[in-house]
Amino acid sequence: MNIVVCIKQVPDTTDVKIDRNTNTLIRSGVKSIINPYDTHAIELGLQIREKLGGKVVVISMGPPQVIDSLKEAVSMGVDDVILLSDRAFAGADTLATSYTLAEAIKSIGNVDLVICGKQAIDGDTAQVGPGIAEHLNTPHTTYVNELCNINSANITVKRMIEGGYEKVEMDLPALITVVKEVNEVRFPSIRGILRSREIDVPIWTSKDLNIDFTKIGLDGSPTQVVSVSTPQINTQTEIFTGNAKEQVHKLLEALNEQKIF
């Protein structure tokens, strides 16, 4: 079973703070991490390999610092990693990103299963996975929370939907996107960490791919961000003082006065 897992390096958004004076993100000191959903995708890839044999290759598109995240994947035990990095890829929206990743997957060749995280926590679009599947002309299933069965010909998964789940079978090759419930992510192993420190991460540029240059990067992106703003905040807060009882009383009074209901 040849498995490709697509990951994204993201800022740990739980750490992101806004500078209220300049209305910008304070990024200094914010760690870069593997998108949490993608770590579950890696774990699932490793589990399938442990069961059926084969290879797990992790790919990512982004600037050179993404090498750190790919090394982290190596420390978890994946076989190979590839970074797609090129100025020509910059500015890609989900369409151009999924096209580029799909072309890389074609270049790897003979891939049976592609696994992505449900969505990235910085963009939250959830669009790249299905987009890759479309460009690869393979079936896909999103929001997978359980792998029921997999063999050389097909895969059966549970997909979370509103108010329950669907059980879906697909012919391979196929693509799935996974939610956190699908598994518990392993820790890296010491041998994996040692290997990750030695490995040279191969970098593929646009020239290494059989790619249509009008479909990548900013030029290949139909959508464009035209403005960015910071959500407004309510600055009129009434903070009550006193001990617990006094505060509770003041709250009830205030609500009463306002005739809230």
């Binding site: 392993r186 820790f187 890296p188 192993s189 010491i190 041998r191 994996g192 960490i193 040692l194 420190r197």
Partner: protein, 379 residues
């Protein structure tokens, strides 16, 4: 203090820290109460290669030694010394094989331990505690086999381990020179387990009786030579005592960790108790003592790993000192927490219960002092 750890040693420490924080911390209380063996944690440690740290590369290990074993034990003990013991006692249980096993024994067993198979060391008996030579378990030769009879008591990892090194008397007349060490696998006919002990501390660790009733062990399972059993035991314990010391240092450090946090949060007389000199001085002493214990443990471990032969005194010193420090520091930690410290809702009472064992097992601290003293006049 900077102990100039190598890259690999830093990886071991950091990974054990991460596993402790993310996986062990949430289940500490649960295992302390239930007394179950923490298989899920052992599985994580195994998959992360922690069991490999003290095993030579030849047997699928990472080529480290006592120092690496101590680092891992300390870091895990910082959060739960009971859970850490599942690992540390495997180190003890497999050390006789590593030290005295022949090539085929090492190939067979050490590779399994590297993959996370639990091991145990069985020396203590009801009437043979500090006086190990008063052993009653016998191994009578019968052709190619030895027939084991007797009961081993308070065996850490008893019942959960698959591999046991057992010391038994093959020739009672020869006294301590009549003991022999055997590798016994779980499931061998005639080998069963008695009661599981209900302990004061390290409750996540399993302690059990091993019962041998006409248990036939092939002579290939003998470690070193017949009659070497006592030497095997003593040499093993000389090497693993820093592990107990590391466990003690981990417990003490864990107590300091929670005290530092609590003393900033807890307010009395309108200010955090960390502002009070009484508390500050206690914490200063606790940190000083713990650092001293750590330095001694690391120095002894490094000395052992260097191949030094005469290590009994240093090994005894670090275990004894660290054990006493752990007891003192955790007692003080309970004091800093005050009434809350006495409650099971807070972690320090468990640490105090756990600390006590480090003054008792692998040789009581009184025995350690005897060992140290008897070495003082040697030259």
């Amino acid at each position: 203090m900077d102990y100039f750890l190598t890259e690999k040693q830093q990886i071991i420490r950091d990974l054990c820290h991460r596993i402790s924080q993310e996986k062990i911390k949430p289940v500490v209380q649960e295992y302390d109460e239930s007394g179950e063996f923490p298989w899920e944690i052992m599985d994580i440690l195994a998959k992360s290669d922690i069991f490999r740290v003290f095993i030579p590369e030849k047997y699928d290990g990472l080529g480290g030694g006592i120092f690496e074993m101590s680092l891992a034990t300390e870091e895990l003990s910082r959060v739960c010394s009971g859970i850490a013991l599942g690992f540390a006692a495997t180190g003890l249980g497999s050390m006789p094989i590593l030290l005295f096993g022949n090539e085929s024994q090492k190939q067979k067993y050490m590779t399994k331990v590297a993959d996370g198979t639990i091991a145990a060391f069985a020396l203590t008996e009801a009437e043979a505690g500090s006086d190990a030579s008063n052993m009653k378990t016998t191994a009578e030769k019968d052709g190619d086999y030895y027939v084991l009879n007797g009961v081993k008591q308070w065996i850490t990892n008893g019942g959960v381990a698959d591999i046991y090194t057992v010391i038994a008397m093959t020739d009672k007349n020869k006294g301590s020179r009549g003991a022999t060490a055997f590798i016994v696998e779980k499931g061998t006919p005639g080998f069963s387990f008695g009661v599981k002990e209900n302990k004061m501390g390290i409750r996540a660790s399993t302690t059990m009786e091993l019962i041998f009733e006409n248990c036939r062990i092939h002579k290939d399972q003998v470690l070193a030579r017949p009659g070497m059993g006592y030497i095997v035991a003593l040499k093993t314990l000389d090497r693993t005592r820093p592990g107990v010391g590391a466990q003690a240092v981990g417990i003490a450090q864990g107590a300091i960790d929670v005290c530092l946090k609590y003393s900033r949060e807890r307010e009395q007389f309108g200010q955090p108790i960390s502002n009070f000199q009484a508390i500050r001085h206690m914490l200063a002493d606790m940190s000083m003592q713990t650092e001293a214990a750590r330095a001694l443990v690391y120095a002894a471990a490094r000395m052992i790993d260097s191949g030094a032969k005469d290590i009994s005194k240093e090994s005894a010193m670090c275990k004894c000192f660290a054990g006493d420090v752990a007891m003192k520091v955790t007692t003080d930690a309970v004091q800093i927490f005050g009434g809350y410290g006495y409650m099971k809702d807070y972690p320090v009472e468990k640490m105090m219960r756990d600390a006590k064992i480090t003054q008792i097992y692998e040789g009581t601290n009184q025995i350690q002092r005897d060992v140290i003293a008897s070495n003082l006049w040697k030259k």
